[in-house]
């Protein structure tokens, strides 16, 4: 029993190590494009040529590791599997609306459900909800490409981090108050803006191009950042601002009823059958009684 306990606590500790490492890898991957100029100026042309591939690789590793980590618990039974499948499908449909609604570009209703799903059903669930939403909509609408793992990773992070808001709102005793929604909306705003910036980092090496001629020797982080800023403003800012505003608006307007509905169903989806059936040995007692208890989780 003690050994089993030790195994479990080791597994739990390793889980956090995995989160930490993948985040660090992500940071490296995201900062990488800023170093390209200094790399190329120091003669590392070879690096620059394959940098999109390299970024994809780093993103891919993090994604694989986190998927393996998350799927064990988030799909441990038919209920969670079905719940996740249905919410992913629903969110992919919301993604269609994004393309179907003319009007504010960049507004994406998918963030809303990813954030609230992660918030109510837990980080791992949120991670899978985020990354699989992008996976399934890419399958259906033709968004598959080398950028997909990277996108899946970033969308997964949105869901994975959502429980942080829960911790925050607990810390501020904001649960059940209006501030809970405000905190969620703030989280949505941050990601609305960050998502575009992070996606730009992936495309960016394509845009700036790996070319020594392009960079005067000695050009450092400063100009690179400035160019990235230009790139970001040109390609994303308006869209990202729309996305952030849209996500905030959705959370403020629909957040409360959606969270209530998701919580209402949480009890039905997340409980574990314990102890009861074990009391049954075929035909032993005519009126044996087993109890299956449910443990609500929220």
């Amino acid at each position: 029993m003690a050994a089993r306990k030790a195994v479990r606590s080791t597994a739990n500790a390793l889980r956090w190590v995995v989160y930490g490492l993948t985040s660090l890898i992500g940071v490296v991957a995201f900062l990488y494009p800023f170093f390209i100029p200094s790399l190329t100026s120091s003669g590392g042309l070879a690096h620059a040529v394959d940098s999109p591939l390299f970024l994809g690789l780093l993103g891919g590793f993090s994604l694989v590791a986190l998927l393996l980590e998350a799927q064990g618990e988030a799909t441990s039974d038919a209920k969670r599997t079905a719940l996740l499948g249905v919410l992913v499908g629903l969110n992919a449909v919301l993604g269609f609306l994004e393309t179907a609604i003319p009007g504010p570009g960049g507004f994406s209703p998918t963030f809303f459900l990813i954030i609230l799903g992660g918030y109510v059903y837990g980080g791992r669930f949120g991670f899978l909800l985020g990354s699989l939403t992008l996976f399934v909509s890419a399958l259906i609408t033709g968004g598959i490409g080398p950028w997909l793992p990277y996108r899946m990773l970033v969308a997964g992070w949105i869901g994975l981090g959502a429980p942080l808001v829960l911790a925050l709102s607990r810390a501020f005793h904001a649960q059940g108050t209006r501030w809970e929604l405000v905190l969620l909306a703030g989280y949505g705003a941050v990601w609305g803006l960050a998502f575009g910036a992070l996606m730009d980092l992936w495309f960016w090496p394509f845009a700036i191009g790996p070319d020594t001629q392009h960079w005067q020797p000695g050009v450092g982080l400063g100009e690179t950042l400035q160019r990235f800023l230009a790139f970001y403003i040109a390609t994303s800012l308006i869209w990202d601002a729309m996305r952030a505003v849209g996500t905030v608006a959705m959370i403020l307007l629909f957040g409360a009823p959606t969270v209530r509905t998701l919580r209402r169903f949480a009890r039905r989806f997340f409980f574990t059958v314990a102890a009861g059936p074990a009391a049954y040995v075929a035909g032993e007692r005519a009126a044996a009684s087993g109890t299956a208890t449910r443990e609500a989780r929220g």
Binding site: V17, L83, V86, T141
Partner: protein, 376 residues
């Protein structure tokens, strides 16, 4: 065609833009992928997918956009055609033809990647894509299959809800009015998920095997996998950091390799614990071998005779090797089959008509779309 043959084809088509910036090769590759995309799309009996953007349209957007961005922000090059006042931040300075061309090539690279992967979406049915996920991700494959199945039905449900709300006087005035559309679909979805879970459990979906009990049973093994995975991630992280250091590149590659091997091992190991068998087995036919061989051959000359191109510092015509160009034409093979708009045209080889599976109600027989089941 066999999905694996398609995967090879797409790998070959997508390798070109990652391996060269020579606009001539890029244009050929882009044209070839567009032709194949168009032919494959012509074979789909149903209309284009929702929200499907045609590669040509994407190219028409991406190339000018790339050119515009680059010409405005990069002021390198010798052939200056316009000079914006230096006072304007970022875009002020000389505008050069070189940077214009360079930016257009950037756009072309993106368009070619997009086009190659558009073929994947069009040619390989969603469930086949899902079926080729590694075994370790079986739970994710099931989730994706459920989601993909649920998408069309929830689109129908959206329609139903829209009608149902309309008949109680609902009018779409602003963002707030999405609530009456969204909530019934969400609640219906959650209710449906419960029913689905029940149906899956009734058909023996591993509800007792995985999760709690499995992790108890496999506790030790899980920890080993986790340890190896952690080690692999550490290697990848170190390899990534090393690459950023001027002297680190020699160590970086072995570290990344070690990380990859560790991750691959974990994926294999987790997969070996997943118990399921696959019903569908696509059949590898002659055409698949042909496509596979031609796809590999198509990119070899490019890799061997590597012609990269840069417009800087002074614009020059890109080199062109006929052998590389001709080899690319091998990628056209999947576009020549069938009776799509292209197949019936002058290039048409009059190949057998095959409908992509799942789209043709009248084709109730087995064997279409290259899938077949040997009968006992």
């Amino acid at each position: 065609m066999h999905p694996l043959a398609w995967f090879l084809w797409i790998a070959a088509a997508a390798l070109v833009p990652l391996a060269t910036r020579n606009p001539l090769y890029l244009v050929i590759d882009f044209a070839v992928t567009c032709v194949v995309a168009d032919a494959v799309r012509g074979q789909l009996p149903q209309g284009p997918l929702p929200a499907f953007v045609s590669p040509v349209r994407f190219g028409l957007f991406a190339v000018p956009a790339g050119a515009l961005f680059n010409v405005l922000t990069s002021h390198v090059g010798e052939a200056v055609f316009l000079r914006l006042p230096d006072a304007i931040p970022l875009i002020g300075g000389p505008l050069t033809v070189e940077s214009l061309v360079y930016g257009a090539i950037n756009g072309l690279i993106l368009a070619t990647l997009f086009s190659a992967f558009a073929v994947l979406t069009l040619a390989v049915p969603v469930r086949d894509l899902i079926a080729y996920l590694p075994r370790a991700f079986y739970p994710i494959a099931v989730v994706s299959a459920i989601a993909a199945t649920f998408v069309p039905s929830s689109l129908r449900q959206f329609q139903q809800v829209r009608e149902a709300q309309a008949i109680r006087g609902y009018r779409m005035r602003g963002l707030r009015d999405w609530l009456p559309l969204f909530m019934p679909v969400l609640i219906g979805g959650l209710e449906r998920a419960l029913q689905l879970a029940e149906a899956m459990t009734a058909r023996g979906f591993a509800s007792d095997e995985s999760g709690e009990q499995a992790s108890k049973r496999n506790g030790g093994r899980t920890v080993v996998s986790q340890l190896v995975l952690t080690g692999g991630l550490l290697c990848v992280l170190a390899g990534g950091v090393m690459r950023l250091l001027p002297q680190g590149s020699a160590v970086s590659l072995p570290l990344l390799l070690a990380g990859s091997l560790a991750t691959a091992w974990v994926v294999w190991r987790v997969g070996s614990q997943v118990r399921y068998t696959r019903y569908r087995r696509p059949v590898w036919a002659g055409i698949d071998s042909a496509v596979a061989v031609l796809s590999v051959l198509a990119v070899i000359p490019l890799l061997v005779l590597a012609h990269d191109y840069s417009p800087y510092p002074r614009l020059s015509p890109p080199a062109f090797d006929l052998r590389v160009g001709i080899a690319f034409l091998g990628l056209l093979v999947p576009g020549l089959r069938g009776t799509g708009p292209l197949g019936s045209g002058p290039l048409g080889s009059g190949g057998d008509r095959r409908c992509p599976s799942g789209h043709s109600p009248e084709l109730g027989t087995i064997g279409h779309s290259g899938e077949q089941h040997d009968h006992v």
